[in-house]
Amino acid sequence: VRLTPVRVVLAVGLLAIAVAAVVVLLQQEPRRAGTNLTADRGYVLALPPGQQLCEPGELLPGDTGALRLDASAGGLPGPRLSATLSAPGGPVSAGQIGGGWHAGLIVIPVRRVAQTRSAATVCVRNLGSHQVLFGGSAPDSSFFISIAGRPVSGRLRIEYLRPGRESWLALVPNLAHRFSLAKSDLVRHWAAAAALLLMLLAVGLATRAMLNEERSP
């Protein structure tokens, strides 16, 4: 194969893209199992010390290993918080975060939830001595939660995280599964593979077009 400038550029460029893709695929981060699709409109839900906030009607995704919440203790170090997750059959999981956290996204690790559970209830208890504010949507005409036993119109935003840190590569089977959901039955079971093949085809054809035209006058 004769090395021409076009071939060198294409080979080096496509190799660089492939290397970048591998680097991204190997990055390890906490990954999401799901969310409750609630907008975080700021710190709108206040949980007094020693009290509990319970949010019913949650769809608890399988593989949940932690809850990510937006929380603030009003400039003070955050108090200890505990979380309990229950479904119609009884308790499902629980966990807690120690005191001293700072305002922003906090992660409360819980025991891994293997299966998806509908109609679950997530409760968060403030084990400290001062109030904690949570991010969510309130008032929210469609939802009621309970705070200190009283109904409140609103909803806490919850992100369900998978246990530990994972690379995109490790997550590929899950991504492929999620890719197969909520799509046309005509494509859903092969959409991920087809998208990959189509992009390989596009890149292959583009390379061929550039090599073809290299020889043109």
Binding site: K183, L205, E214
Partner: protein, 489 residues
Amino acid sequence: VSAIGRLLRRVPRVAWLCALVALANGLAWSLIVPPFEVPDENAHYAYVQQVAERGTLPRQVAPEGSLSPAEDQILSALLTFGVVGHRDNPAPDTQVQQQVIDRIAKQNLTALGSGDALTATANPPLYYALQAIPFKLTPSGKVLDKLQAMRGLSALMGALTVLLVFMFLRELLPGSSWAWPTGALVVAFQPMFGFMSGGVNNDDLLYLMSAGVLWALARGFRRGLTPANGALIGAFLGVGLISKLTLLGFIPAVALAVAVLARRTWAEDRRATARGVAWAAGLSLGPIAIYLLLNHLVWNRTAIPGGVGAATAAPGRVFSTAEELSHIWQLFLPRLWMRPQFSSYPLWETWFKGLVGRFGWVDYDFPAWVYQVARAIGLLVCALAVAELWRARKALRRRLGELAVYALAIVGLCVEIGVESYRSLVTNQGVFEQARYLLPLLCLYAAIAALAVRFGGRRWGPALGALLVVLAIGHDLFAQAITISRYYA
């Protein structure tokens, strides 16, 4: 038919390859982006549904009517409005949610709605009439199956757009065949174009027709205003106008082009020139005239619903011509002494960053550094293109009329977008402008890339072209990666 066959046979093989690249890319995007996550896809689907199921055009229903039980229930099951606009909310990702979708699909709900198609209601019908074909041909009655089939047709329109972009470059730069695929492929891998090609939106037909107009104009400038070329110009403009009224912005450029071309050939062959002008004018105006008549006589809609003309200002707002002119200026250019109308700088925030990539219902984008890198690359490519124009200034002087036409196409489109933007602001305080509205200028985007490559000459140009194509591929794949991360991670 045989003339079309001959024309198609004259299309170079490499042009088909570029079109296939765009088709593959558009289809990939159609699979990656979840249903109804392309801007206003619910409204465009509703329009097609109305055309296919009732054989009529949609009409405004106040208060906003239901689209149809079938579509409304699926939109609800997909949690569409919990995902749209909320970049932290993924698409449905559990089997439980899939079961809800399956249950609704099995209910065989009616596809007959109130007749409202929301933001799409006022659009002309051509795109929707074409999309009614895959809608009707899809054997299942399921909304998601029909939507996917319609997305396939949009991807095909994207492929044909790239074919026309290639043909435009072939007419524009006849001596530089190695620069044509660069321009066409840079468009084929343009992520915003790929994203739109993978969705149901009448912009897809608008892009195709705009590329057709610019190709026909370039062909006219190279080969003269023959009756056939006049017909091509008129047909693309006329059909484009009943695809989306945005193409009104091209009318001044087309009028100037026809005038310049007619002046050139008038002395040589008056009869052929007159026929060329007549074809251009007749085919440009014919479809829109028929559309206006049908609106008035058959569909009982206002002349150009939502298109041009006066609109009622929101309480506390008044239309002001001076403010409108200032609005249009500031939408694309530095503010100068004018009273500020935007909180950000639209040229950078809306147009540049939007074209580099802002996807979904304008709810997710690249990390900030990508736009900085894109600016550096964009400036370099533009500098090379300008340098090439300077180098070829003698030839350019002979083609100033043609250059003025392309410049007027840009100005016309910008003014049209600016007028719509101002109307939207005054009538409902809404933000209208999105970068995808500039994609009717894809041919000129490709021309900048091709000119930059041409600057490299026969020796280095092809390598420079390969570099631009590789960058475009990387850009597109990165856009798909953030899309997958946005909806599925």
